[in-house]
Symmetry: C2
Subunit: 108 residues, 2 copies
Amino acid sequence: MREVLDRVADKWSLLVMALLAAGPRRYSELRRGIDGISQRMLTLTLRNLVRDGLVTRTVTPTTPPRVDYELTEVGHGLGSEVSALVRWAEGHLDYIAAARARYDAEQP
Amino acid sequence: MREVLDRVADKWSLLVMALLAAGPRRYSELRRGIDGISQRMLTLTLRNLVRDGLVTRTVTPTTPPRVDYELTEVGHGLGSEVSALVRWAEGHLDYIAAARARYDAEQP
């Protein structure tokens, strides 16, 4: 169980899946869409998601070749949970920032 | 946003919150309830969750003192999303294991 949570509870996987929940994306679109992710980390994250059967990788033999990533059916199931988590996080940024400020102010 | 996701997308935070979603727990109960978490990691994870305003820490001055952790109202909001994610993971362990086996078998 913890191994699966390692994947599901990985920040970069969550952000990639939240983007793919809105539809297939090309590698370059994912790279632009995720602030702060390195090429190496995006490549590794996508390979793990494909390996887990959560994402498919489709290569169209144009020149240069076009590579599209898409959630599988099971991936879409997780994608909706992930999107809910990401939306929750977006809705509570201020609350958490204020809580942290209060906590830090209380420290000796 | 990524900072909040760091907290929300942290495996240990997810597991602690999933346990607390079922009700307040003592430190020792959390330590026993999460396979593989070290004392140091549980202490750090709980401190971060308290700092984020997601969990409260209540000390009852018995001998020895009793320390209870509980989700805040906002924490319960996140807790339900987290529990859904953990249930999803539990329901797809076999699927992911099979996908990994297929992927690994296809590698040159």
